[in-house]
């Protein structure tokens, strides 16, 4: 078992630029079912992907793949023709929020937005638009979602993952890889790893993902990676204290960050004394979460939390 994505996932790619094409190819190599792409001027064509299968991906496949992915001009046409049930958004920032809403309008149940640099106001509108629709947005500005050996959506390196017992949820891309790699080396592996993204307005938060992991029978523990800015980690602490039945380990980036400066991610800023690493760590500890004191200790902290 896993959360959000599995071998049943039928993926639609929105945005077939250089990055979108490259990562669609990596996902297919991993064994993900990529069933459609949307491109406004190339409708009717097909994009051909071929190469060597990624041995870290889905098992029991031929060594090579060759896939023709049909291109449509709109999400509604793509979904009607292919029954895609998930979408990945690589559309450039000025049109990305519109692409997210387009997928939401058709009811694509999982929308994973990779794009970095979407204006906040656009995301405020998109989030309101999606609020009453039966869809989940992950991201934007995130590495994506992966269930090892089943389905890869996004830009993460597949080979560091190993199917296993731990759920991972994170605001940071490279720190997710760091945690995943440690879990793989310790033999714990991952059920699903979810990057929720580094923007101030995002679709899915820690609490949403913790709730899913809580209900997933295969997930035995969760590694949560937060950072300065906002209060999403504090909200997660409240949820864990009240409802979480599984051990949680956490790392918070930014103990050395100065106030008032944006640390790379649009959302990583301490403002008005809110969002400090110290406050987040205190709240998480209070909720019984095991804290990794350095990013090299995330895997060990999980082991420790599992007893």
């Amino acid at each position: 078992m896993s959360i959000l994505v599995s071998t049943e996932t039928r993926l639609l790619v929105q945005g077939l630029g250089k990055t979108g094409r490259f990562h669609a190819d990596r996902s297919i190599a991993y064994g993900t079912q990529v069933v459609a792409a949307v491109h406004p001027t190339r409708a009717g064509e097909a994009e051909v992907f071929e190469g060597e299968a990624d041995p870290s991906g889905v098992h029991d496949r031929p060594d090579r793949y060759q896939v023709e992915v049909p291109i449509f001009r709109s999400v509604i046409e793509a979904v009607a023709a292919t029954a895609a049930n998930a979408s990945v958004v690589f559309v450039p920032p000025p049109s990305a929020a519109d692409a997210i809403m387009e997928a939401g309008a058709v009811g694509v149940s999982l929308i994973v937005a990779i794009t970095e640099g979407i204006p906040v106001a656009d995301m405020v509108v998109a989030k309101r638009y999606l609020a009453d629709k039966p869809v989940r947005l992950v991201g934007p500005n995130c590495p994506g979602v992966i269930t090892p050996q089943e389905c890869r959506i996004g830009i993460m390196p597949g080979y560091i993952h190993q199917a296993g017992r731990i759920g991972v949820v994170s605001r940071s891309g490279t720190l997710t890889y760091e945690a995943v790699f440690q879990l793989t080396r310790l033999g714990l592996g991952q059920t699903t790893a979810v990057g929720i993204g580094g923007d101030p307005v995002n679709g899915t938060n820690f609490v949403d993902v913790l709730r899913l992991f809580n209900e997933d029978p295969a997930t035995e523990g969760v590694v949560m990676i937060g950072e300065i800015g906002g209060t999403a980690e504090e909200d997660a602490a409240v949820f864990v204290a009240k409802e979480m039945r599984k051990p949680v380990a956490a790392f918070i980036a930014g103990t050395s960050a100065p106030a008032g400066k944006r640390m790379g991610h649009a959302g990583a800023i301490i403002s008005g004394g809110q969002g400090t690493a110290a406050a987040k760590i205190a709240a998480l500890q209070e909720a019984g979460i095991t804290i990794a004191t350095t990013p090299s200790d995330m895997g060990m902290a999980m082991l420790q939390a599992m007893g």
Binding site: P93, P157, A232, K261, G264
Partner: protein
């Protein structure tokens, strides 16, 4: 992106939000030249001389060179002695403010040099209020914050007397509704003409926030005059960098002299860099990893000199630019390169580092930690490069090594 008070007031005036009359003055002569017309047009004999820097707390801030001067100076001598006396006072004050270093609660002890003044008409203040429009991250939408405690440090008000802060959520599909603006006005104790003025003011401000993609609009204080008018006595605005492409007029307001020169150079090279005050330079891929690299250096007793995210990969050009920027800081005694290869192979990254280092040289020790595909090959290339660098197998070891080497 931040802008100056005078620019924020120009934008407000363009949206028909009431602001005092004022003139920008890059020289003392221009400051003096502004006095007569301001007094005559406003009918108020008081003028105010305000430092224009990108930091708050100017009113209470003082100059290093002139401890008797504040960042904002109210000139009242004109009430008794007339316009010429006011002009003479402004001449003296402006000459001393310009080119001097203003230290406020937000500038740090080094302060900021004042290159520009804003001379403004006096206003007859009855009450000082607080008003802001900013993003509430939990709600994922903008909110209006208002308080009767104008002119105070709002963070202190929020902490000590949170009941004195009124809030109204802005639905992006609706904007700030009139009933919400009415409620805020009554909550602030406004009645009659002042209430009507305020309702227009706050509704316009809310729509301005969404039209211009502001991160923050803060008016502290918002003033109710003795004539029952509502007017923005101060104005602070910051904009969403990701949305500047659709506001070229706002983007043109950028004042690069207010920004750190190294941070500007990094931005041009496509690097995300923030200068700090330690001795260990950092070069990392990914914002979260970059932040936690600083943390781990500190954990092992070092002090990071910077935050630097080279982005997805690390090619020779970026590495060279990063080394140039990091080592231009005279405090730097060592560099920690921490790259999680991800999609990019470690041998590609290693050759980027080697070529980058060869291009600009390496005046201080460097520790490189690589992880990812072909990591052994990458490390071997670095070890055999003949360059003065040390490899590490994980973040912890790398941090310990660089702290040791930079002592």
């Amino acid at each position: 992106m931040k802008i100056h008070e005078y620019q924020a007031k120009q934008l407000m005036a363009a949206h028909r939000i009431p602001v005092p009359l004022g003139k920008v003055a890059p020289t003392a002569a221009e400051a003096v030249g502004a006095v007569r017309s301001l007094v005559e047009q406003s009918g108020n004999p008081v003028v105010v001389v305000k430092s224009q820097i990108h930091a708050g707390g100017r009113g209470k801030g003082t100059f290093i060179e002139h401890p008797d001067l504040r960042g904002v100076n109210v000139v009242t001598i004109g009430i008794k002695d007339g316009i010429e006396a006011a002009e003479n006072a402004v001449a003296d004050i402006a000459a001393r403010m310009l080119g001097s270093t203003l230290v406020t609660s937000q500038t740090g002890p080094a302060g900021k040099k004042v290159n520009l003044l804003y001379v403004e008409q006096g206003v007859n203040i009855d009450r000082e209020l607080y008003l802001a429009v900013l993003l509430d991250r939990t709600l994922s939408r903008n909110v209006v914050m208002a308080s009767t405690e104008g002119g105070m440090d709002i963070e202190k008000v929020a902490e000590e007397t949170p009941e004195k802060i009124l809030r109204a959520e802005i639905d992006p599909a609706v904007g700030l509704a009139t009933f919400q603006a009415n409620g805020l006005g009554w909550g602030l104790g406004l009645e009659g003409a002042a209430h009507m003025d305020f309702v227009n003011f706050v509704k316009t401000l809310a729509s301005m926030a969404s039209q211009l993609d502001t991160d923050l609009i803060e008016i502290n204080p918002l003033v109710v005059t003795t004539e029952e008018r509502v007017i923005a006595l101060d104005g602070k605005m910051a904009f969403d960098d990701n949305a500047l492409y659709r506001h070229p007029d706002v983007a043109a307001m950028r004042d690069e002299t207010e920004e750190d020169p190294a941070e500007l150079e990094a931005k041009r090279a496509g690097l995300s860099y923030i200068k700090l005050y330690g001795t260990i330079g950092c070069m990392v891929n990914g914002a979260g990893l970059a932040m936690s690299t600083m943390d781990i250096i500190k954990h092992f007793g070092g002090e990071p000199a910077n935050f630097l995210d080279v982005g997805g990969g690390a090619n020779a050009e970026q590495v060279a630019a990063a080394i140039r920027i990091i080592t231009a800081d005279p405090n730097v005694r060592g560099i920690f390169v921490n790259i999680f290869g991800g999609i990019m192979r470690c041998d590609t990254i290693a050759s980027g580092i080697i070529n980058g280092v060869k291009e600009v040289g390496l005046p201080v020790p460097m520790v490189v930690r690589l992880e990812g595909t072909n990591v052994e090959l990458g490390k071997q290339m670095l070890d055999e490069s003949g360059l003065n660098l040390v490899t590490a197998t994980d973040m912890k070891e790398g941090a310990q090594k660089i702290v040791e080497l930079s002592r």
